[in-house]
Amino acid sequence: MLRRKLVSSLFVGFCGAAVILALIPLAMILFFVVSQGIRALNVDFFTHMPTPVGEPGGGMANSIVGTLILTALGSLMAIPIGVLSGVYMSEYAGTRFASAIRFAADTLNGVPSIVIGVFTYGIAVLPFKQFSALAGGIALGIMMIPIIARTTEELLLLVPGTMREGALALGATRARAVFTVVLPAAAPGIVTGIVLALARIAGETAPLLFTSFNNRFFSTNVTQPISSLTVQVFTYAISPYEDWHRQAWAGALVLVGIVFVCSLLARFATRKMSGFTRS
């Protein structure tokens, strides 16, 4: 009996230790990103351009604008495709075609981001012999689609069937029932999904390395290469210069800040939503 109890306590202890083991790197990363990042983070970081090597100061204004443009382009592509294919999967849930879409979405979700980058290079960079913000937006969009599609599907399925039936009973067509009753009811949750997808792709580097590439200058032209926070942090991190390392940490702090704010926003929106999904 004593031995069994001992084994049991050891096991409980191991599980607790596992949690602590996982939280140590989290705490360390957050500690370093905040403590190192804060040193270079000031107003200049958001409003100034990068300085040449050896000249301290400067910022990442062009990269921040670049990241905004890239995520906007990605969303423009992914939101309609994601939401509407999500609608199809939930409306025609039992069909073979819906299963095929679901399978494709899950597959796409598991494709390494670097492979998405290689693919986009083949379809959007190689034919034009030109890195461009547009290509970067496409790569990010491809990554967002499956996340949005699956979230939309899951949330639409949570909407009580009685709401749809009520609309249909009043003589609404299926399209009208979906777009005026079911989708609005699930909207807070879908917005959450989109926000989470945005948070994820804003932090992506690999698919941008050879699509949007990088740009030392301020650019809003979507047919030209564009800088992004992540690629800029990468460039700075592997450089041998102290100043650039400081800038990299500040960039990392901004990225983590974006992720953190988005997760909090998402939690807030789901809390509003959960009131009715439980019914």
Binding site: S8, C15, A22, L26, E91, I116, T173, G203, T205, F234
Partner: protein
């Protein structure tokens, strides 16, 4: 009725587009790597020499680096991830549950590039110090040989392990939740200790747990930035934990924009193609396992004691 058909087609087109993207990835990667596939054939995967200048392309070091780092990362991450899942679903007080879920999910949300930055400036020096402190007797072993660089297989493995844990543990948590409560209560009623009851639940959920581990494996295989920044980027096949090595994803990240001639580019894209196929297989397998687990678990409560199942 006609209008509904329009709606169905209208939304279906977007779904079709999603399917086409996946097909196009496979097609495009194959088309763009034809030169390399035709020239090297299967030898591409057994040749350990990667020399772009001489036009010799062998992908063995990258396959090796990817598999070695991912498997080692799984060995570290799996017990920890399952421990976390068990702690959150079975052991911890209710008030701690939500915060812990949030924290582990935050670990998954931190961008790869931030992991990499932390890896370069914090983890790598720690690993270097560790290697310097290693007793001489151990340094002779092939597993620990090599100069103390800090960058190398061990750093990559540790970072990968941290990054994989949240994925595996969140699926394992879902899987454990789907184990009927009655099953655990029966174990406790028979006088089982916590360990015995939980290991029965884990055994019941084994298919799903394996699925969760595979999902983590899929993530580790394709992880790019963090690994690129700490693995040392040296195409060699070595068993040493401290040797700088290379992975498939890392070579793409580093050399893609430098590929000067077409054969070089095609060789790199072929690596991308194989990475795509491997992750496709691993992920599909993991989904099938998780799915069959949740299906069989759902089938059980109807025959189990009803009041207990209703509590959830």
């Amino acid at each position: 009725m006609r209008k509904d058909l329009g709606f169905r087609l209208g939304t279906g087109v977007f779904g079709l587009f999603l399917i086409l993207i996946v097909a196009a990835i496979g097609f495009e990667l194959t088309r763009q790597s034809m030169l390399s596939i035709q020239k090297f054939g299967l030898a591409f995967w057994t040749n350990a020499t990667w020399d772009p200048v001489a036009g010799e392309f062998g992908a063995l070091p990258f396959i090796w680096g990817t598999l070695y780092s991912s498997v080692l990362a799984l060995l570290i991450a799996t017990p920890i991830a399952i421990g976390i899942a068990v702690f959150i679903t079975e052991l911890c007080p209710q008030v701690l549950r939500q915060p812990l879920v949030f924290l582990t999910e935050l670990l998954a949300a931190i961008p790869s590039i931030v992991y990499g930055l932390w890896g370069i400036f914090v983890l790598v020096p720690i690993v270097r110090a560790l290697q310097v402190a290693l007793p001489d007797a151990l340094r002779g072993l092939p597993l620990f040989s090599g100069p103390p660089l800090g960058v190398g297989m061990l750093s990559a493995t540790l970072i990968l392990a941290v990054m994989v844990v949240p994925f595996t543990s969140s699926v394992a948590r879902e899987v454990l939740k789907s184990v009927p409560v009655a099953q655990r209560e029966a174990a406790y009623a028979l006088g089982a200790t916590r360990f015995e009851a939980i290991s029965a639940a884990l055994f019941y959920a084994r298919t799903g747990i394996v699925g969760a581990v595979m999902l983590g494996f899929g993530r580790a295989l394709g992880e790019t930035m963090a690994v690129t920044m700490v693995i040392g980027n040296n195409p060699q096949v070595s068993a040493s934990l401290f040797a700088p090595q290379y992975t498939m994803a890392a070579v793409l990240a580093n050399e893609f924009t430098e590929a000067a001639d077409e054969l070089y580019l095609h060789a790199l894209i072929e690596i991308g193609l194989v990475l795509f196929i491997i992750t496709l297989i691993v992920n599909s397998l993991s989904r099938v396992l998780i799915w069959s687990m949740s299906r069989s678990a759902k089938a059980v409560p109807s025959t189990a004691v009803q009041p207990v199942a209703a509590e959830a």
